[in-house]
Amino acid sequence: MVLEATMICIDNSEWMRNGDYSPSRFQAQADAVNLICGAKTQSNPENTVGVLTMSGKGVRVLVTPTSDLGKILACMHGLEIGGEMNLAAGIQVAQLALKHRQNKKQQQRIIVFAGGPVKHEKKMLEMIGRKLKKNSVALDIINFGEEDEEKTEKLEALLAAVNNNDTSHIVHVPAGPNALPDVLISTPIFTGDGEGGSGFAAAAAAAGGVSGYEFGVDPNLDPELALALRVSMEEERARQEAAAKKAAEDAAKQEKGGEQQASSQDATMTERASAATSDAENKTNDLMDDENALLEQALAMSMDDPATSHDVKDTDMSEAASVDPELALALQLSVADSTKDATSQSDMSKLLADESFVSSILASLPGVDPNDPSVRDLLASMQNQSEPQQKDDEKPSSNEEEKK
């Protein structure tokens, strides 16, 4: 709650026509001025703000310090752009306007927008700076627009001459995608010096209707957190794009699968596999691809075995392969794998050879009648063959389908 009288020196030189700050330098500046005026008058009801232009036919005071926000905002309209910025004269006139403020208790502050080049000598600026300091006037400089070493150096020198107890600030705003007011809102020009800073910024945000920070976190306070948040947001965006792409592919696949549903269960299996993959995609992280490959492989293994590959299945597989090369690769792998797994399968067939064990398992399965003649035939034929286990595999899955 600093009691302040502020003069804002705006730059309306020809250089302000440039469009490197959206929508134009001049408009960006006007927005920033409105925001500052709002913030200043909100932070203390007795604060006053005045505005003057530094270019054109000469320095012109548009509004002497007033607490009437409407007056300040109105004066910003219909300003003419022209001429060169006269920084020295602008600051001196501003100081004079502040000197004759009505409320002597107000601290004096000048805010300068420096968009065009600075033509004055560095020494002259330093002299003016010292004069301001002597008269206990604080100075905030917003350096934007024209960028060159000399200008920055001159403005820094001016600030150094004025700065007393860190009450004066300089902000360099390079051209970029960020709007000028958005950049300024987190700077000391808005946040003030220490106490009541955040409230000040909040008031400014409310007044200007600008949403503060990107993630609700001041990037200046915690740069690491801000960076982490940004990185995670980009990852999330990439992930969503990949998921959308997959979903489109899956939809195409489902159409084909649907046509063949009548002939084979495998179409359903493929469908289910794709459903499972898209499910898995939704909770992806960096390991997404590895996991998907594993999952596809596992599904392929469960629904297929080399010995019993029916013709129908093969066509299905080729169908799938034509749609999704990745899936095809996984299927191929699984075929190769299952031959390798022959040894473990022989163990399995030993187990299956045990009739009582198999029938107990079949009995425990819902919807399967162990006394069904076809099942009995199967079991009988299983005694000496390792292949028929496949049919047992198929049964429960078809049962599952019925449940669906």
């Binding site: 000197k99 002597k104 010292r130 004069k131 002597k134 008269n135 007393n164």
Partner: protein
Amino acid sequence: MSVESAASIVIPKGQVDLLDFIDWSSVECLNQSSTHSVSNALKQGYREDDGLHLESDADEQLLLYIPFTQVIKLYSIVVIGPEEEGPKTVKLFSNKEHMGFSNVNDFPPNDVAVLSPENIKGKPVILKYVKFQNVRSLTIFIEDNQSGSELTKVQKILLYGSTVETTDMKGLKKIEDH
């Protein structure tokens, strides 16, 4: 303190310390260091403490604006400072508002005092009494210091004079309250 007693001895009869009549809310000082403000030299308690002093900031000059709650007559002034950084040329203006360093030479001062080493140890400076008969506010401009350096320090400023017989508006209000 010997300095204190020496200063108080010279006070002629009928003159009082004008401390009580200063309008503190409007006291101003230009070019003061933010850590060594004007109250260190003016306010009771602070000014008696030798460790506290008023210090200049950007250069050696200081400009004090002291308004009073009622019209006074100024008789003498005491400015105490260190031997080296103590003030030297002091210009006094009466009833000049809105003065800054830029227009300090635009008006003729009511009185100019060049302080001797004795003065800054506590010897009062007797002013041109006739020039300070109807004073509502006093502006003290300290132009330079004893050694001519960039830094001026003031430990204490005492103003002696008398009040003009006028109605003290603040006193009147208090009576109305009863």
